[in-house]
Assembly symmetry: C2
Homo-oligomer: 286 residues x 2
């Protein structure tokens, strides 16, 4: 798992999007938040499925994993804009609109969004596989997923929502892209439709768990510990605000147990690979 | 030509992107700038090529043409943001950040960008054709085209650039997506690589011409006539500012003549179809 993450980091750093022109700093800005680090959770979900079931394809899967990271990174850059969270810190570095300006942050975000699809279209898989991957990413990373989730999150920033609405919000804002990451790995590995859908449903659960944990981190960690602007979610709808800190932790633990049970229903290879991954990224608050 | 435009308008209005949720106005905002009209120049370029060479495919090409319009519309919405042009009027309607807020304008732009690729991936063509279309749109509509052009345009807003740099700017900001529209039509129609490349090169010329004319419109027309915020380009790099109004008109006329000559090198069907289109959209200042 550690080795796979290192391989992905190396791949990312040698395949950063390029943009040659006489613009003095656009290319640097384009690469900055990708270089800055991050958990690489979504790429690792995809790569873990591929490694478990079709390890020979792992090299070809790298560019698709990078596409996922581009899409996720663009969403962070736009979420951090002054009109949204107005965050000053991300991945331990100043946000792009702080270092450069809003124009740069908007355009770098746009560029990473579009370029994610360019990477998928140019990946070394059959066109049939690539079209499936693009359908999923453009749906779960778009108006059927991440973007409507973010729109709801922003709109209801100062209005209380019900628990079912908060779940809808986070399933769309966070969980669908995480579920898509697993399913895209399954498509690359040529797994059956049934396993694809099981992995997708599992991804929704761990996505929700991931978001609850993120809310808990925002409540309990300092900026230095989290490497991003935190505690600015006090007025926002979060599981912590709706359920209380203890309620959120309880909810996270319950969901973590459900995820563990589901994990046991996958075959040994998937189980082992995903278990290692979740051990690292989740189950942090138990 | 008029009939084809009407068909596209009907298609657009019955296939607007949908986003069902409890958000009170995101779906409305998502559709607003698409409904608002616009020249539909890029979709019409694609459709004109398809109609000229493979008219039976015109119905299937509609969703790809719509994808082009989505990508173009997102770029206008983001260009109009307060951090960029801070425009209040677009396509004769208040800009999205005026009617709603900046968050909505940013997210609607993001959504239209992503959804363009969803439309292409789901179009009724072979996966081989669709991957080619996605490669082109994600390149010419991304960091190799429109986005680096816009980044340069913004960065050098208050600095004079040389004519070669201004051409680079507009080839990337405007012409490449126009050229891509023609080439995508050629790919759908199954035309040879040679014709694809000829159409692409022709598109770069008419894209440049289109931009020079846009600069002239910004200089000479009122907001009411143009249906968008105009005359805010005084400090900006434009052909009018670099060459003077007469120089820009002269340059537009020369380029228009070059385009007419190139047009005669295409076969009769393409020539007739594109001539009608350009008659409507270009040659306006002769």
């Amino acid at each position: 798992m550690k080795q796979l993450l290192e391989e992905f980091e190396t791949y990312l750093n040698t395949h950063l999007p390029q943009s040659k022109s006489f613009h003095p700093n656009f290319e640097k800005a384009l690469q900055e938040m990708l270089r800055a680090g991050g958990k690489r959770f979504r790429p690792m979900l995809l790569l873990s499925v591929v490694q478990a079931k079709q390890s020979l394809l792992i090299k070809n899967a790298m560019s698709v994993a990078l596409g996922l990271e581009l899409l996720h990174t663009y969403s962070l850059i736009h979420d951090d804009l002054p009109a949204m969270d107005d965050a000053s810190l991300r991945r331990g570095y100043p946000t792009l609109h702080t270092t450069y300006d809003e124009v740069t942050a908007i355009l770098v975000g746009d560029a990473l969004n579009t370029h994610a699809f360019n990477l998928l279209a140019n990946a070394a898989f059959s066109n049939d596989v690539k079209i499936e991957l693009i359908k999923i990413l453009s749906s779960d990373g778009g108006i059927d997923g991440m973007i409507i989730g973010q729109a709801i999150d922003c709109y209801f920033e100062n209005q209380k929502v019900e628990l079912s609405q908060l779940e809808f919000l986070h399933i769309h804002k966070t969980a669908k892209l995480i579920a898509a990451s697993l399913k895209m790995g399954a498509i690359i590995a040529g797994l059956s439709d049934e396993v694809q859908e099981k992995l997708y449903a599992f991804g929704i659960d761990i996505g929700l768990l991931f978001q609850i944990q993120d809310d808990i981190i925002d409540e309990t960690q300092s900026e230095e510990e989290a490497g991003k602007t935190t505690n600015n979610d006090g007025a926002k709808n979060s599981f912590v605000n709706l359920l209380g800190l203890n309620g959120a932790i309880k909810s996270a633990n319950e969901l973590a147990n459900k995820c563990k049970e589901t994990l046991n229903q996958f075959d040994t290879e998937l189980n082992t690979s995903l278990h290692q991954l979740l051990q690292k990224y989740l189950y942090r608050h138990q």
